[in-house]
Subunit: 340 residues, 2 copies
């Protein structure tokens, strides 16, 4: 096999938001294929805020070792198989790496079913991590009820944009918080959010008080920091906070990040619950079924933000942490130019 | 009635910890007794960290108006009654004020049953707010299980000292955090805590990591701030935080207080739940029955920290917010020198 295997190697742990020093694009030998493994040509690489945590140290899983290709969710095509479960040509999803090719254990990848005309890129978010996370966060953790006020931060992101739509389908009034007027217009005009707040140009705390004078019943937290505290200051009695992400804090290496103000949580008898999709894998079947149904009914819209070329993965990744960057929906890199 | 009615009047809202400017001892006319009211001679006044919040502004109830005697929990003796439900001489508990006498609605006070030889002072904490708060926080909110690691901050306080003992009775391993070596010795030697950490002289985060290498399962939070974050850094997967108080933050008027670090809550899938006893009044019956039984069996020890004289209430109150102050257990003022 004469193809190059380019890979973004984690050469040191990131300091603050200096990802340029942490990740280097290198040309590596093609992976050796072990027993019960499949050699996968990466079609799409998923870029997610959580990747930063995996680089930095142990989280809910061990840290990515320094010196190996960075880990990431991938969609790929099997080019060689040492497992009876997979044939060359199978399209799979799994936990791979930021590389042209990777060798993955057959037990750790899943065949992607026929998407019925939907671009393959949609599979990664809607029927993968982002869709499952949004579904569990709204239904299991947030437990939103019809008529309630539902607020989501990071609302234009892959998880946030789905969370708001799912809450809307449950009958909630939905307010999204995002980092630009363009994103806000997308949320209200395209996705059906009731309101959107541009945290770069509006006072989130005051605007929420105007929009939700009786308080916020469910807050889907993706960002933390000042935005998180602005929402917490507006919580209703007995509100629930589904703690899904803290993207504003992942790069804060200089001492402790600003925490969440607990006084409103105490005085309003609220609950904050952190969750990780890994603990809810048994819910993915229901999530995928519902999301597929809503997609077919036109109740859920889906946006994939695709960057072409593995060599551009680093620049795309960095925008995940830039306030006001223009990306919307699920961020992905098309590694194989021929992927649909 | 020739007696003086002295009262601590809230003359302005407190700024920071300047309670001297906020509360003034004044001599007022005896209260006029309205329909269905009882005139109560205060025997004991309860001093609690939450009082500070009531002075400062609206909380879970309206703020104490400026210009009236400061509100507080009292035990008192009925001296005159405009209600058929009460006779002069009845001993009652209720929501009164920092004063020698107060006129209270008959519907808002409760007769204190015979204490079976226990000093009356015990009624206020064990069978009142402190006992109920500790019971609900450990059983309903913390949901501690046998063999779990239970940590409580403000452990030498009225609520904390009972919470630790209740958790111990549930079969947990109990670690208390308090502000002096003397308090820590009291927790382990007298109350049966497994360990105690003196946050003034020990590194709470490191000490907890040594004592609980597998992490803290339930954290009963009374203080917030640096101590709260030190415990949160040691939480086990799926841990529960019963958010009862934030005494380190009540006097922080200079900008937002340090919040609780949410990253461990997210990565360990923990739950933080604020609670207010007012929402759990239906649980007070069970709490009192259990606490009474445990007291009789010698499984719960109770300490009342009694200051003599209404004129000394302000100085005693201030020590509630002083790190390393010597008080332990429920703080009360004996307003009537003849009270037992």
């Amino acid at each position: 096999m004469a193809e190059m295997n380019r890979a973004w190697v984690l050469v040191q742990r990131p300091v603050g938001d200096d990802f340029d020093s942490a990740l280097k694009l290198q040309t590596l030998p093609m992976p050796e294929l072990g027993e019960d493994q499949v050699l996968v040509r990466t079609l799409y690489l998923s870029l997610d805020p959580a990747n930063r945590g995996w680089m930095a140290g142990p989280t809910y899983m061990p840290a990515v070792p320094v010196g190996v290709p960075m880990w990431g969710g991938v969609l790929g095509k099997v080019v060689k198989s040492n497992s009876p479960k997979f044939q060359p040509g199978d399209i799979i999803g799994g936990f791979g790496s930021w590389s042209d090719y990777c060798a993955l254990p057959a037990g750790g990848v899943n065949k992607i079913p026929d998407m019925g005309g939907l671009p393959l890129a949609a599979a990664q978010g809607l029927f993968g991590g982002a869709g499952g996370t949004a579904y569990v966060g709204v239904i299991d953790i947030g437990q939103v009820k019809p008529g309630q006020i539902f607020v989501v931060s990071g609302a234009a992101g892959s998880v946030g944009s789905l969370a708001g739509q799912i809450a809307k389908i449950q009958g909630a009034k939905v307010v999204g918080i995002a980092g630009s007027a363009e994103k806000c217009a997308w949320l209200t005009n395209e996705l059906g959010f009731d309101h959107a707040i541009d945290y770069q140009h509006e006072n989130v705390r005051k605007r929420l008080a105007e929009l939700c004078p009786d308080g916020v019943d469910v807050y889907f937290e993706n960002v933390g920091g000042a935005v998180g505290n602005a929402v917490v200051a507006n919580l209703a009695k007995g509100a629930r906070v589904a703690l899904c992400g803290l993207v504003s804090q992942y790069n804060a290496d200089d001492g402790p990040a600003a925490g969440l103000d607990m006084l409103p949580i105490l005085l309003k008898s609220c609950t904050v619950q952190g969750f990780i999709l890994l603990d809810y894998l048994h819910r993915l079947g229901e999530a995928s079924a519902k999301l597929g149904q809503w997609l077919a009914e036109g109740k859920v819209k889906y946006h994939a933000d695709v960057t072409d070329g593995l060599e551009n993965a680093l620049e795309a990744f960095k925008t995940l942490f830039q306030s006001g960057a223009s990306h919307k929906g699920k961020m992905m890199v098309r590694v194989d130019p021929s992927a649909n």
